[in-house]
């Protein structure tokens, strides 16, 4: 026992240690192992343990891996956006319009589908979106379309729809919790002081709910990047994601080091993207506040967003001749990480706890 710990601290550590040791052995050790593997190479069944960056060079420069990684991030970004936008009104409805004694029932209703077989739910989306499925049937029946829509199955759109369904409760619950915490007298005060309902929502409710929205973004974005089942069942060839490639590397090509590398790259890509996004929100809010907020602030922040995205896009598409394939990734990472670090150092922590 370490010296100087209080009796309470010691008891607490003893109590938490079984779970901690379990997580260390089955999570920390395996994660470190795949990081180690990512620096090795494999020839048929023998693993070559010389340290090399070969896998990383290949993972970052091969157009196939690059395309899969970017597609995974893009699909996840869409899923996150759609899920959060659809979830907000529901969380708002339950928090503000449902009677207190009925809230638990509503939350229960929303979480039930989440607890039922993931595989079956996704497979049924294939049935729902199919060429002769209920969606097309209804739309034709209503006379909205004449030919069945073929663009809603076996592509990225289908993956986005299906994942937006699967992760709905993950977005609703954190937003609901943050809405519940809002002191209702603040809203009354805003209205008493003459603010319109819409403005009360935009200037009081929405900012106070932002921590929940950000939590929802994290909880939806991180797991969806690594989803395997949905792209396999409804994605077709145009909806394949990075997890499918990791599976192929490990089981079909039995190239474990490459599979490990892709997993590490996926985790890094998720971390960099999220850190970039969160720190840039701080920057955009700061910009917007600088010109007094409102429409002008929004336009300025949006312009900053578009400019940076265009620069990154240009580097990605045209960077190879200038910087070399690996260099392009380096330049992109430098812009993203550099900008994020600059914001973290230069700008004080702003609203919403970010």
């Amino acid at each position: 026992m370490p010296q100087g710990l209080s009796k309470e601290a010691r008891q607490g550590l003893i109590m938490v240690s079984p779970a901690l040791i379990y997580a260390l052995l089955l999570l920390a050790v395996p994660l470190l192992t795949i990081i180690m593997f990512s620096f090795w190479t494999q020839n048929f069944l023998t693993i070559n343990r010389t340290f090399t960056l070969e896998n990383y060079t290949e993972a970052l420069t091969d157009p196939l891996y690059r395309a899969l990684m970017l597609r995974s991030l893009r699909i996840s970004a869409w899923v996150t956006t759609i899920t959060v936008i659809l979830a907000f009104p529901i969380a708002y409805f339950i928090s503000f319009n449902v009677r207190p004694e009925k809230k638990a029932l509503w939350l229960f209703l929303i979480t039930i589908p989440f607890w039922t077989s993931y595989l079956i739910r996704i497979f049924l989306w294939r049935v729902i979106l199919a060429y002769d499925g209920p969606v097309n049937g209804t739309l034709i029946g209503l006379g909205v379309i004449e030919e069945p829509l073929s663009f809603i199955l076996y592509n990225a759109t289908a993956v986005v729809i299906t994942l937006a369904h699967a992760f709905a409760p993950f977005a609703i619950l954190p937003i609901f919790v943050s809405l519940e915490k809002i002191d209702r007298s603040l809203l009354e005060a805003a209205r008493d002081l003459g603010e319109a309902t819409i403005m009360t929502f935009l200037r009081v409710t929405l900012p106070l709910a932002m921590p929940g929205v950000l939590a929802a973004v994290l909880i939806v974005f991180i797991p969806t990047v690594g989803d395997y089942v949905t792209p396999r069942l409804v994605g077709g060839s145009g909806g394949t994601m990075i997890a499918n490639m990791i599976y192929v590397q490990i089981f079909d090509l039995s190239n474990r080091p490459m599979g490990a590398t892709l997993a590490v790259v996926a985790m890094m890509a998720v971390t960099i993207t999220l850190a970039w996004a969160i720190l840039h929100i701080r920057f955009w809010v700061h910009l917007s506040d600088g010109v007094g907020g409102g429409v002008r602030g929004f336009v300025l922040a949006a312009a900053a967003f578009v400019i940076e995205i265009s620069v990154l896009r240009w580097v990605l598409l045209n960077g190879d001749p200038y910087f070399g394939p690996a260099g392009t990734m380096g330049v992109m990472a430098a812009i993203m990480v550099g900008g994020a670090i600059a914001i973290a150092v230069l700008l004080p922590k702003g609203r919403w706890g970010i």
Binding site: Q11, V16, L27, N97, A104, P113, S117, L124, A130, E180
Partner: protein, 271 residues
């Protein structure tokens, strides 16, 4: 008199529920549909797909594996979670936020990452994947859920109850057994049931670690490739979904009873 008025928000909420429940509503429709193609129009009522389930030996094998795994996982993760949740609510210790955050990490980590890292370690150690390795993986995944549920039971606990028991001459362990444990029992049962459901439905880790001992979802996945087997899959899915929903309702009843016992108001939901 209160008039029921449908606001646009309520209509949206209704449509959203329909969106959430669409797959689950369709599932039994196709399970009882007398046609081999999973599409509309329906062909008539039949229960023969459920009958087919009875004479599929591979399915029985998978069911047995799944039940062994789910029961072991429920007990293991609830035991581990019980201590961790107690530590998190009752004690202060160094690096508490970091330690708890790390234990809860599997909640957000993509499952594929957890699955391949476990698989690589097992292969490296020369261990074969089996029912036992799935138990290990599922426990890692279920532990955060068990902790979240049990933390809910522990937080409402009045600490003076335990102190009173100790003042009256009980040992610390005795006070825990006689006073605390009965109060959190509903939470423990809810945690057991939820971990059982998660393990029963979990696919990715089971798929990567199953070797030649498939669980129900892994068996289901294999059947999805054969169009002729799809109605049977629908029937199996209906049974699994019904089982999950029933267990979930029971778990929720226990969770509420636990909240009532410790005198908390219901904040709703397991997460």
């Amino acid at each position: 008199m209160k008039r029921v008025r449908l606001s646009p928000l309520a209509i949206f909420a209704g449509l959203y529920l329909l969106f959430l429940y669409a797959p689950i509503i369709l599932l039994p429709i196709f399970a009882f549909n007398d046609g081999t193609i999973i599409a509309f129009p329906l062909q008539g009522f039949t229960t023969r797909w459920f009958g087919d389930l009875l004479n599929t030996p591979a399915l029985h094998e998978a069911t047995r594996n799944s039940l062994i795994i789910a029961v072991s996982v429920a007990m293991l993760s609830t035991c581990l979670g019980l201590f961790a949740a107690r530590a998190a609510t009752r004690y202060n210790f160094p690096a508490k936020a970091g330690i708890m955050g790390f234990i809860m990490l599997p909640l957000v980590l993509p499952e594929v990452i957890v699955a391949i890292s476990l698989l690589v370690v097992l292969m490296q150690l020369g261990l074969n994947t089996s029912v036992y390795t799935i138990i290990l993986g599922h426990t890692l995944l279920c532990m955060p859920f068990a902790i979240a549920i049990l933390q809910g039971s522990f937080t409402g606990l009045d600490q003076s109850l335990e102190e009173a028991a100790i003042d009256l001459g009980e040992t610390r362990a005795g006070a825990f057994r006689l006073v605390i444990l009965p109060l959190v029992m509903p939470g423990i049962i809810a945690s057991l049931l939820i971990c059982f459901i998660i393990s029963l439905d979990e696919f990715i880790i089971a798929f990567f670690l199953s070797g030649n001992e498939p669980t129900l979802p892994v068996y289901l996945w294999g059947q999805l490739r054969f169009p002729a087997r799809l109605p049977v899959v629908m029937a199996l899915g209906t049974i699994l979904v019904t089982l999950s929903v029933v267990l979930l309702i029971v778990a929720d009843i226990f969770r509420r009873r636990g909240l009532l016992r410790t005198g908390q108001s219901d904040s709703g939901g397991f997460l």
